[in-house]
């Protein structure tokens, strides 16, 4: 079975979720592009979008339509050549609409798992629950006579465990997209102890067609991405808790969030990132990873407490941010949750006094956007960290501590052989988390 045949009947499980919808979109576009090649005319391509909620599937179809339209508008120059023999398609608009149609007729939304029994390739992007994943994969594999290949989007569960428990005989590989899959360039590719070489070969070809950056990771719970992020988050939470002895917890959270965003020149502060991923998702990933760790307790009472009070974060189906540890207006944090009063405290009420406590900002600091896309970020970052190095304000000290810890986590991932190289850790943070620099650097030496 060649690349095209493998991609002619595909299923995405959990297709209406934020990861599943992106995987569905990218795969559907890839399949339609294949179907439009002259040698594939007349062949039928099907991608099943399976989810538990009909309502969510309706939203998914609207999302896919809007995204397919954008994709078509972006590549109209090529599409005119692709549809050159269609005399009825003259204007760009007609060509773009035809492409959107071709994408939509390839996708079959369904709440029934049975439609996946004919697929040769199955993407799994359901809830990060090992037992549920094993149950679904086993059921599918027993009923599907095509010996399908499985691409799991798990961000934390060891692939070997899924492979063995669902009895898949190495027809599985970890193919971990970053959120949102349509935008983030990174995929972590993780082989189980048994992954067949042809599965890996296909995975790499597929990643290349999608123009993704592949970072291989060892099959260890959390892999590289969450291996770094979860520990980085715990550091931030710990720093805020320490600080909360002097100020209120919301004030401490505001300050650590500011330091981790502005001082460290990151796209968002650590508490905003936790909200972005979902407070409950973070807690869950830690709980999946924790049993595999020796001499380390990856767990946060603070997150447990928030979840107990219904503070969850995450995103609305349109991609906008739900309130979590922080409250958002037009995507910007405006208040911080206070677990003691169960209310949000307005940032504007304490911002000035907190900023004063942090001390003067380093003068060379610029927003992440201006640094990351400047084309000379290395020089700008060197200037910024050189200045931070010489400063002794509370903010600068926190920033230095934060950056050192981030580097330490990165080095530990390499030492533990979760990451195969230092550059892989940096690539993950650069392309999966959109950082302007990798954590393993010499800026503070």
């Amino acid at each position: 079975m060649n690349y095209t045949e493998r991609l002619s009947n595909v299923t995405v499980l959990g297709a209406a979720g934020k990861m599943g919808s992106g995987i569905l979109l990218l795969t559907a576009l890839e399949m339609v592009d294949l179907s439009l090649k002259p040698e594939n005319r007349g062949k039928v391509f099907v991608i099943n979008a399976i989810d538990v909620s009909s309502e969510a599937l309706a939203g998914l179809m609207r999302y896919i339509r809007a995204q397919a339209l954008k994709a078509a508008e972006k590549k109209t120059v090529q599409l005119r050549a692709v549809y050159a023999d269609r005399a009825d398609l003259i204007d760009n608009e007609e060509i773009i609409m035809q492409y959107v149609d071709d994408v939509m007729v390839t996708i079959r939304p369904s709440v029934n798992l049975e439609v996946a029994y004919n697929s040769t390739l199955i993407f799994e992007a359901i809830k990060e629950d090992p037992e549920l994943k094993v149950k679904l994969l086993s059921q599918l594999d027993k009923n599907n006579s095509h010996k399908p290949w499985y691409f799991t989007n798990t961000s934390s569960i060891p692939i070997t465990q899924l492979d063995e428990k669902a009895n898949l005989g190495g027809r599985i590989i970890g193919f971990h997209f970053y959120n949102p899959p349509a935008v983030q360039k990174l995929v972590e590719v993780i082989k189980s102890a048994h992954t067949l070489p042809e599965v890996e070969e296909f995975a790499l070809q597929y990643a290349k067609s999608l123009r993704k950056v592949v970072v291989p990771s060892a099959d260890f719970a959390g892999f590289v991405g969450n291996g770094h992020f979860m520990r980085d988050a715990l550091h931030g939470i710990g720093e805020a808790e320490k600080f909360a002895k002097d100020v209120s917890l919301p004030e401490a959270i505001y300050m650590i969030n500011k330091v981790s965003q502005d001082y460290l020149v990151r796209p968002m502060g650590i508490f905003q990132l936790i909200d972005y991923v979902g407070v409950d998702v973070c807690q869950y990933i830690m709980s999946v990873m924790n049993p595999f760790l020796k001499d380390e307790d990856l767990h946060s009472d603070f997150l447990d407490r928030l979840i107990g009070q219904g503070v969850l974060g995450g995103q609305f189906s349109d991609g906008s941010q739900k309130d979590g540890i922080l409250k958002y207006e037009k995507g910007r944090p405006v208040a911080v949750y206070n677990p003691d009063t169960k209310k949000y405290d307005l940032i504007s009420d304490f911002q000035a006094s907190c900023d004063e406590k942090l001390g003067a900002m380093p003068r060379s600091i610029q927003p992440w956007k201006s640094v990351a896309f400047s084309g000379k970020s290395e020089d700008m970052l060197k200037t910024i960290f050189d200045e931070i190095k010489t400063m002794d304000t509370v903010g600068a000290r926190l920033a230095k501590e934060y950056a050192r810890r981030s580097k330490e986590i990165g080095l530990q991932l390499v030492a533990d052989k979760v990451a195969f190289a230092e550059k892989d850790v940096n690539t993950v943070l650069l392309t999966g988390f959109f950082h302007a620099y990798g954590p393993i650097n010499n800026f503070l030496d």
């Binding site: 508008e73 109209t76 003259i90």
Partner: protein
């Protein structure tokens, strides 16, 4: 001609432009430009008739019957004659030509001539479909996604194949630099806010055939613009009626119109043959030579069109336009300053308004009203020339002007 008025040219580049926010519509632009002229000429009561030039509001704005917007400018225009003319991107100068013919025929002494286009209603990829109507519809299927950039990219490619790759590229970059430098001096220009220090390297950027066209980069292209321009075309009698001295006006000395077959590709893509013919007629009817031109407003819908226009006028032999531009002859300080408020690349290109905007720039320059954009006009070279083009060198109007007194 007298009493010109330009709205700003709105689109990417202007600080006011935000594609997500509501913007003025066709009617606001028409009213602003129209009233801008009426204020200078003693009101609508002095107007005998009006002409409105527009390319394709029927698709950009779902609006036809544009002549009926003239009374919207001022109630005193109700029940007076008005006509809408169309010749793609040459609609503006066709409107002027229509007004000029009325005055010459002595059926009117004061004609309000207005050009307008509001293009930012659709994304560029769909705007390309709409603008493709300036070419032959039966050629659309074979054409590029960006149809007109594709046409002029083909001309640039042919020019580069004939005369070498480097020099024409350098000349196109220089054209862009000149356009922006001039636009920075004109507050209504779309590139007025442009503060880039890297103009030359922008202009030299390699074309990206995957996303755009083979031989042009985005800086070679005129802008997608919303805007309107209006001016009064008046007889000597008319001038008296509106109470403006001759010294404030410019006189039409000559005019050349030329039309070519829309179904035919150019005989030689490195030559703007219809432009050459229109300019020849204009200079001939004015009884002057190109050496007497103090300034030119040419139709640089793409930088290559600017270079080809230099050759079509005869300032340089075929293949010599690039060198002529590189040498700085078309800069505001050069031998013949071209497009002194930025032209289509720098000021903007609200298609149906462009021909009128060109005449206004000439009016400002020849009567000393150009503000920061002002260039010196000498007694040896007192004439101004406009070239307005519809389609790919198809519908041409060229006009020679001189200060009236």
């Amino acid at each position: 001609m007298v009493a010109g008025y330009n709205t700003i040219s709105l689109g990417t580049g202007r600080k006011e432009f935000n594609p997500k926010k509501p913007r003025p519509g066709l009617e606001e632009y028409i009213r602003e430009a129209g009233q801008g002229v009426l204020k200078q000429i003693g009101g609508a009561k002095n107007v005998d008739e009006s002409v409105i030039g527009n390319f394709i509001a029927s698709r950009f704005n779902r609006q036809g019957n544009l002549a009926a917007f003239m009374p919207y400018i001022d109630p005193d225009l109700r029940y007076k004659p008005a006509v809408r003319v169309e010749g793609a991107c040459g609609s503006g100068a066709l409107a002027l030509a229509t007004g000029i013919r009325s005055v010459l025929a002595e059926t009117a002494d004061v004609v309000l001539v207005l050009g307008v286009e509001v293009q930012n209603t659709v994304k560029a990829i769909y705007g390309a479909d709409i603008l493709a109507a300036a070419g032959w519809a039966k050629d659309r299927k074979e054409g590029h996604a960006y149809y007109f950039p594709g046409k002029f990219s083909d001309r640039a490619k042919a020019y580069q194949e004939k005369y070498g790759k480097e020099k024409p590229r350098e000349a196109m970059a220089q054209w862009y630099v000149n356009a922006i430098e001039n636009a920075r001096l004109c507050p209504t220009a779309q590139e007025y806010h442009n503060s880039s220090e890297e103009l030359q390297s922008c202009g030299m950027m390699n074309p990206n055939p995957r996303g755009f066209v083979d031989s042009l980069n985005v800086y070679d292209c005129s802008k997608v613009s919303d805007g309107a321009s209006a001016i009064a075309v008046v007889s000597e009698e008319g001038l008296k009626r509106i109470g403006i001295p001759k010294s404030e006006a410019i006189e039409v000395i000559g005019m050349g119109q030329a039309e070519d077959d829309i179904t035919k590709p150019p005989d030689d893509p490195t030559i703007l043959a219809t432009t050459r013919e229109a300019v020849r007629k204009a200079l001939e009817s004015a009884g002057i030579t190109k050496e007497q031109l103090g300034t030119v407003e040419c139709h640089d819908c793409f930088s290559i069109a600017g270079i080809l226009a230099v050759e079509a006028i005869g300032f340089a032999p075929h293949g010599g336009g690039a060198e002529f531009v590189i040498q700085g002859n078309t800069k505001r300080t050069g031998k013949v300053p071209f497009n002194t408020t930025g032209g289509l690349v720098g000021w903007g290109h609200p298609t149906g308004a462009t021909g009128v905007h060109q005449a206004i720039t000439i009016w400002e320059q020849l009567t000393g009203k150009a503000g920061d954009s002002q260039i010196p006009i000498t007694a040896e070279r007192p004439y101004g020339l406009t070239i307005n083009m519809g389609g790919d060198d198809k519908s041409l109007v060229s006009i020679v002007f001189k200060k009236a007194e």
